[in-house]
Symmetry: C3
Subunit: 337 residues, 3 copies
């Protein structure tokens, strides 16, 4: 039984992934096709032709219309069939869903629920993506597990000490706390001064014997949209001249057991680290360290429900558990409505 | 719930696929082994040894007998166990099904239902396969979808305009009609004159500015045995000196979700196109154009029933829909009997 | 519905497979991690962290403790959580199962049932593994089928005539009988003199025109622990100066449909055959002859129950069938207790 929250914004793609050709994806276990209309606007439609179920993502775009690659039926931005190649009449049932889509902060957001409830104001802020004072790299990973396992991972960053040595390894020992503001959940981390890590070294001035001071918070919004704010400073002037490293962690379920993980990270434009090094550092952490661990966890669960497995709950799980509860409540409220 | 029509002829193989070694296949989700007996006749048996379920297709042939590769039990053409290697007694249950098999027109037909009802006269005509005035090429493709999706594809050839550019592309715009004669369904196509296609160019005399005139019909018989009769002529003498291109499209379900697609095509013996070109043109159309589309459609359906998905029905679907209905009626009649 | 016998010894690994790093495996469809403690002893624990289900086999060993690779929880040899990296309190539920483990005859035996019932005296004898008069080779194979199909294979060695030509092929025609001693089942084979096989040639003195005399028995204990005692002699002095070739065939279910097959074989220390030839001969028989056959059989069964398929039972199946019955009785008794 699929249990996704429908009435919320899901990230479907990075803006520059939607170009001249149709872009096919799967979200909430539904096929979706994205393309740009005649004015460059992003159009998001159900990705399956209602006639013989062909994938529209293999079709052709003409203006605002996309034509099915199999028998040529054409659909406009409202999902209505507006073209049949042999002049035949198309039954009114020949429609595909049209999803509200918004481009903001280089992200394409799509609303899979009731279109009348789509509220652009509800999109969380990622305006740092277009901050000229930062150099931002970004990517997408595929994680073969339920997206809430990835939320758990991100809402408890203590795992970095064991899984991501680039960020400091055994020296990286945060004090952790949690807070909540309405339906927004925060995990807070305060790091006692620690020796520079490979990562801090690449974006801060030379340490000259100083220790790194770090504070950060992760912000979560339903369904699984996370923003991580990190501020570095030096132990001789903690909290002063902070160097920011904001990052983005947005999860979109492909299916119940597979997740699109969109990530980005910004560093000061004048940092020593090149974009290539920055990108590869993140890619390695997500694709070579997190994803294999999460895939192993998913294999261990073998399709069983998370709560049915009675996990041992630790204090640091508060962020992930709150996120799970809020999401569950929203899904129930939506289904009861 | 498997729902195959049992009492009908299924194509199991091309004649020349059955040689010295046992030939294993799967039809109607049952293992089948085919081999030639002492007189060269084709023998078709259930492909699983009743003792320890080994695949007889890995066994050894001696005269009319095939011996299991695991413990050596031997079965004759009636499926009876006639040999045990250590002289032990075999229980009467030690039998495999024997299926009536007929070789005709280079096709091996097998009857999976009640042997008493097997009627050789019910086999549709493919005698053009052995017409000395034609050069015939043939092959088999594997399509990972329900066979009725392939029937749909073949009973509505308008898809060729979008999927198979070699046959004319956007210039190929047939007028379509349908007819029925008892349980035989026909799709008819009349093409207004169109510019020569790569395919027509290769089998007709030089165009010299003339347009191609084409008429064709597809003949369907249950379960999914199709014959396509194409006749080409020139726009300066439409219907005269027609050049035939008969073709064969026979589908045998491997399982509910996988199909053996046997195909053949004949052109005049004196056509310019070589057999290699002819074969590659067809192979490309089936393996590189049709099969990927059908696999995508099957993935979109994700195991759901065709009618439950409420497909939009267009006028051109009449052939496929009639075929589906006739087959459904036959299956119900067989199950009620 | 998983139906494994719990209260018995399963082979988890060869002794030398458990070294410095954690060794992860799956037994009875449960994850297990094996490692050596501070005194070199083998420790066997449930392989899944109770916190977020990470695989402990990717963790780190310190003394008797293994630490989870994801968030650092540490477990001792009793499966109790004895370390949390940030000083947080771990709930009592934060435990993993600890399995009794015994190393004997180069085998690591693990008891997955009630620890109080673990009785070292119940471990069958494989002391030939450490007999200095023999050269023993050993390995493990993976067979993608239910382990009882492999027991069937081993309790009826007549299949060797058809599947393993190295042992004599069509000349290898044993007289077979069966016996039982309590819950131990024996298959007995007496071979009428036959021409030397590639295998006998490699371990016996030159034949000089003599025939090989062979007698053997296979011993089975629940769940699927088998020992094969072979004795070769020459037809001019049958039963005298016998050359032994003891071998080991121990099966441990990975899942319902996959089997760890541990095998070993000893020949006289002064035999002509090298260890490399010996090992490759066995590996080929198991991996290239038995395993593909068993995989085919499993595919034929397609998840169906063995008895539901009403196999034809031959006299030679007695060993396998007795083994199946005894195991079934033990499982029922265990579940009823």
């Amino acid at each position: 039984m699929s249990e996704f929250l429908k009435n919320c914004w899901y990230m479907a793609a990075w803006s520059d992934e939607i170009g001249d050709a149709p872009f096919g994806t799967r979200m909430l276990d539904q096929p979706v096709v994205l393309y740009r209309g005649s004015k460059g606007q992003v159009i998001a439609l159900g990705g399956m032709c209602p006639h013989r179920f062909a994938p529209l993502a293999k079709g052709k775009i003409t203006g605002d219309m996309i034509a099915c690659p199999y028998h040529g039926l054409g659909f406009d931005a409202s999902g209505t069939c507006v073209h049949s190649p042999f002049g035949i009449e198309v039954p009114p049932a020949g429609k595909v869903p049209a999803y509200p889509a918004i481009e903001r902060d280089d992200i394409v957001w799509v609303w899979m629920g009731d279109p009348d409830k789509a509220d652009a104001a509800a999109i969380p802020d990622f305006s740092y993506h277009v901050d000229p004072g930062l150099r931002v790299v970004r990517g997408r990973s595929f994680v073969p597990c339920h997206f809430e396992l990835v939320s758990d991972n991100l809402m408890d960053l203590t795992h970095a000490r064991f899984l991501h040595p680039i960020f400091g390894g055994d020296d990286w020992r945060p004090e952790v706390s949690f807070s909540q503001d309405g339906d927004t959940v925060f995990s807070h981390y305060v790091l006692p001064p620690y020796p520079p890590s490979p990562f801090s070294d690449a974006i801060m001035s030379p340490a000259n014997g100083r220790m790194v001071v770090e504070r950060e918070f992760m912000r979560w919004n339903a369904p699984a949209t996370m923003y991580l704010d990190i501020q570095f400073s030096w132990s001789d002037a903690p909290g002063e001249n902070e160097i920011p490293q904001p990052s983005t962690h947005i999860l979109t379920p492909e299916t119940e057991q597979a997740t699109h993980y969109f990530w980005a990270s910004g560093i000061p434009a004048d940092a020593a680290m090149t974009d290539e090094e920055h990108l590869e550092g993140l890619r390695f952490a997500f694709d070579e360290e997190d994803a294999p661990m999460l895939e192993s966890v998913s294999a261990m669960m073998n399709g069983r429900d998370f709560w049915d497995m009675q996990p041992a709950i630790l204090p640091f799980d508060q962020g992930g558990v709150r996120a799970r509860r809020i999401l569950r409540q929203k899904i129930r409220a939506e289904q009861d409505a």
